[in-house]
Amino acid sequence: MNDALDVALRLLAVFAVFLVLPLVIGQTEHKVMAHMQGRLGPMYAGGFHGWAQLVADGVKFAQKEDVVPAAADRRVFQLAPAVALLPYLLVLVAIPIGPSEGAVGIIVDAGIFFVLAVMGVGVLGSLMAGWASANKFSLLGALRTAAQLLAYELPMLLAAASVAMAAGTVSLPGILNAFEWWWLPWQIVGALVFFVAGLAELQRPPFDMPVADSEIIFGAYTEYTGLRFALFLLAEYAGIVVLCGLTTVLFLGGWHGPFGADGLGWLWTLLKTAVLAFIVIWLRVTYPRLREDQLQRLAWTTLVPLALAQIALTGVVKVVMQS
């Protein structure tokens, strides 16, 4: 009975995080983008600096009519937002935020594989949405999504494999238990590759060709309205949380920090995740959009060789240390 209650409480906590953190990041994006572009951003909703803007947006989305185009494939069209969103919720369950037993939703033995595998399923949501909308722009967006996958999947896996080699385990808490501060410079190339590949997976600028609004309206999500559209947006922000959390756990040492490791570890995890999320937003307002072929060139001529070099370096250091 106690076990069941414990699991239920943990899942509830993960669900709360899943609902709150994406909204926080969304609001931060509003404000950070505004200030970087010399504006104020939302200022009225809720009073203090427009903190309730996203809540108001949510209410607006909930009130809108849920339109399904006449020519669309109804069931696939309606299922797509769930397929896009749920994987990120599942991934969040496996990310540890603190050193204690209770600081992770569920300990997964093959954590890295679980996380990357489930994140990969989210792409299917975009593909389903793009195809089922019966819209040329949507189909183009879906095609770009799939083409993008060819670019980022391999470097992302290779970079994650490098950390797994360094730690000698594929479990996420296990990796953090093995972490030493000098892993930071040792794995820094892998970290950059992982982060860039993750940005491409999330379709965030500068890799937002699948939703490029000035070219193909809004890609696979063009035909969506109301709550289903909001779910796609939520998936994007949940994706940022997951990517930043994962980069923190795999490469930045998660709960390890220069001081206050006892009891305050979870604060380090959150702080590092927040800084990474800020960088994600920063990149959005800084870099112009790449073309799909430029992303392929970047991935296959830069990211993959860098990731392979990182794996070689990891292997060499590992062998030297053991002998």
Partner: protein, 189 residues
Amino acid sequence: MILAHAVTQTGNGFLSPTGVEIAFLLVGIATLAAAVLTVTTRQLVHAALWLVVALGGLAVEYLLLTAEFIAWVQVLIYVGSVVVLLLFGLMLTKAPIGRSADADSGNRPAALVVAAASATALVWVVVDAFRTTWIDLEGPAQGSTRVSGEILFRHWVLPFEALSVLLLAALVGAIVLSRKSPQDREGKN
């Protein structure tokens, strides 16, 4: 494996299955149904999506057999990459919404015979090969990442390397086939 598990652990027989066995059976039926739908549906993209369900069901079966590592790799490779490539191919060519009249092939009876024959052969070979194999349940779980890795790189390292060379050869071959020679390119321009 599950059956052996049940027999040694709880003493349950064939006719009083455990919860895991029932779940295994139910997921198996769902997987089979999805697989049948994959090959019978007249809507091309739906076939690919039913394939996702079938492959996902297979991953759940692996999980129920405590082969956690294999399950996640199955999702990563097949659902995350192979099906996406398949959908990419479908969308690049022609993926109409609704039924495609020409999605049916005249080879249906022949395909059924081949499928039944290969299924029979596979089931027969696997049953025959592992009929006398008993799994020691006292040790660590047989499907965990550590155990899979140790078995793969201690006992099966030669087949593993042979397979990787085979895949590499296939990769190089694909590049050679798809590369245009300079004459071809000039001819087209």
